[in-house]
Symmetry: C2
Subunit: 143 residues, 2 copies
Amino acid sequence: MFQLHPQLAADCVTLGTFPLSQLLMLRDANYPWFLLVPARSGIGEIHHLVEADRQQLLHESVCLSQAIEQAFKPDKLNVAALGNMVPQLHVHHIARYRTDPAWPAPVWGRVPASAYTDDAAMMTVADRLTGALPLDAGFTPIP
Amino acid sequence: MFQLHPQLAADCVTLGTFPLSQLLMLRDANYPWFLLVPARSGIGEIHHLVEADRQQLLHESVCLSQAIEQAFKPDKLNVAALGNMVPQLHVHHIARYRTDPAWPAPVWGRVPASAYTDDAAMMTVADRLTGALPLDAGFTPIP
């Protein structure tokens, strides 16, 4: 039975689900920062997923990347599966700008997370993202 | 006409080619660190590849990940497409250990690259990797 890792649950808000993955948004106003977490127990690496799940993860990652590009017009996307701290497989998708506080370095460990001013500000960013997801992404928002 | 970005050519040695991507190894003895560079001009993001190329990149990434796991028995793989400095699409595949100099942080910008003692030492690591690639990876070594 899949359960979201408590560190991801603490750091993120869950926006909804794709056929394979949960879609999370990090509570960090420095960057539009989203995560895909395949709902598969005990998986820490992309290549440990079965082939059909890997294909589905690629599809969801492409849909998410297209939506981030359309909604936020970043200068660059950063897509990464690291997991040195949280072993549950999660794939970061981060909109990066030449003007953001970590540019051009990777975001991890650069500047402290900046809290959104309130839930409404956070959900405005979330809504921009989910509103840009293509129909064939198969996204279901959290009720 | 595809040409490898000069910064990647300077930082890496080219080990060979998959059907889509060049396989590079970073000149940094701190970590077994490999890159896939799809041989497509003007592409900076995974989702900008055509669908068939995305599928092929996934296949090559999975083959490379399996080989890294078999050859180096890392504690974790780090797989990432960042590209804030070098806009040509390249996907890092890094074997990480709890004992490596950057753990648990991501490797970028943590400690300076450590030169391999000589070409023979570097090629020993390269040969361990390429010897572990599965046959269906379609890998062709540099002659």
